[in-house]
């Protein structure tokens, strides 16, 4: 029997995971900041049930530091660390840092060195910066120093107070060009600018993209439209197969149905395995560590 592929969801938001929802005011702040108005608290057993049903081995869980422009964190690096400690065999934790914080470098170095987090999440639209801004240089250099990837929000953001102009895929080219040793991911495939995302991925092999896009229709229909009509039907399978990662953007989008939709697409089986987990392992610098 063929071995089940190792599946990583590279893009999830744990804002409503019960162990970090002790304070109701924090939960309400998260609902408002994320624009997820009806989400209730989720016991971890429910998260595990969803993962097990879908066959997902790991979730990459993302925080969001909005200290300077919104006065708080949606989920803090310490809360991410807490969740990873509860379930190290299910969760991979990323750090977030508001690049405008005076102590941004210290915060990030602490997250990598002391909290043991596995990468950096940045949200240009919500945190209001352009990715190639010089202010980001020290953070990118720290990521290179510690061999950690950066997952950027890219394209339209559904969050309130988050303008798309900061996150257009073309804004990331300069980062890819200036830091070829830095692995970066354009979240949501940079939708709606998916051709621009594909073009940058084609030229720069340090650029990845995730599949966290479900803005119209159901997952099967939308993935079909984006990946088989807006992009050439063979573009991913032939040319970008080592750079696309399964990411759901859960709980905004439907993790299980998105995964099923990907599994139903006309990719080579080996391409699908890369998208579901192989590429994420390389992006995370964890190749060969599926069981670790």
């Amino acid at each position: 029997m063929r071995k089940k592929p190792f599946v990583i969801d590279i893009h999830t938001h744990p804002a409503f995971f019960e162990p970090i929802c002790e304070n109701e005011a924090d939960v309400e702040f998260r609902r408002k900041m994320l624009g997820l108005y009806k989400n209730g608290k989720a016991p971890l057993k429910h998260i595990y049930n969803q993962m097990d049903y879908a066959g997902i081995d790991r979730l990459v869980i993302l925080p969001e530091d909005l200290t300077t422009n919104h006065g708080g964190t949606v989920v803090s690096n310490e809360e991410i660390k807490k969740l990873v400690e509860i379930s190290p065999d299910r969760f991979i934790g990323f750090a977030s840092v508001d690049p405008r914080r005076k102590d941004a470098e210290e915060v990030l170095e602490y997250a990598f060195m002391d909290l043991g987090l596995s990468g950096l999440k940045l949200h240009p639209s919500k945190q209001e910066f352009y990715p190639a801004d010089k202010m980001l240089e020290p953070l990118y250099k720290l990521c290179i120093k510690y061999n950690k990837p950066v997952l950027f929000h890219a394209g339209l953001s559904w969050e309130p107070d988050a303008l798309s102009k900061y996150s257009k895929p073309e804004n990331f080219e300069e980062v890819a060009y200036n830091y070829p040793e830095l692995r970066i991911c354009l979240g949501h495939f940079g939708w709606p600018w998916v051709k621009e995302t594909a073009a940058i991925m084609l030229k720069y092999t340090n650029v990845y993209a995730d599949t966290g896009l479900l803005y119209f229709d159901n997952a099967r229909e939308f993935f079909g439209h984006v990946f088989e009509k807006e992009l050439g039907i063979s573009w991913i399978d032939r040319s970008l197969r080592h750079q696309v990662m399964f990411g759901s953007n859960n709980p905004r989008f439907e993790q299980i149905r998105m995964l099923e939709a990907l599994q139903g697409m006309e990719f080579r089986e080996s391409t699908l395995e890369l998208i579901l987990g192989g590429n994420a392992l390389r992006f995370l610098g964890m190749e060969g560590k599926e069981n670790g």
Binding site: L34, G35, L36, Y37, K38, N39, G40, A42, P43, K45, H46, N49, Q50, D52, Y53, W158, L214, Y215, F216, D217, N218, A219, R220, E221, P251, R252, F253, E254, I256, R257
Partner: protein, 143 residues
């Protein structure tokens, strides 16, 4: 006298039938009501409550019948971003199955016992799991 109770389930599958008869009988006993009615009502719009015979063959047949009546792969309109939620709607089949099955059942309580027929069990139906679900049990009557 009216007694309300609620309990929560963490379902494990997309579609799932869970026999909750024992839980309902316990709630009636705990209420102390001897003569009256018990109502079992789900709090959700992609789940159901119904009564049927607890046989695995029937469970399979009911699941199959609902899947044939409500296929997954037709172009439902309930597949779009919802501004009030900030997330995608993607569970039209759950809503339709919920409507077909119904959201509640009711039984008489006679001499302190729920008057179930010999082939009757109470089922909670999950149509959009895995999920966290809450079910209300309301007992109305006299001691």
């Amino acid at each position: 006298m009216v007694k309300h109770e609620a309990f929560t389930l963490l379902t494990e599958n997309y579609n799932e039938m869970i026999n909750i008869t024992k839980r309902v009988l316990e709630a009636v006993k705990a209420s102390g009501i001897k003569e009256g009615l018990v109502a079992v009502i789900t709090k959700h719009t992609t789940t159901g409550i119904t009564v049927n015979e607890c046989l695995e063959c029937l469970e399979s047949d009911i699941d199959l019948a609902l899947k044939r009546l409500v296929p997954e792969d037709i172009p439902y309109c309930h597949a779009r971003m919802l501004h009030t939620y900030g997330s995608t709607a993607g569970n039209p089949t759950g809503h339709i199955k919920s409507m077909l099955v119904g959201n509640s059942c009711m039984f008489p309580i006679i001499d302190g016992e729920v008057s179930l027929g010999g082939a009757q069990d109470i089922y909670f139906y999950e149509f959009d799991g895995p999920a966290r679900r809450t079910i209300n049990i309301t007992v109305i009557g006299e001691n």
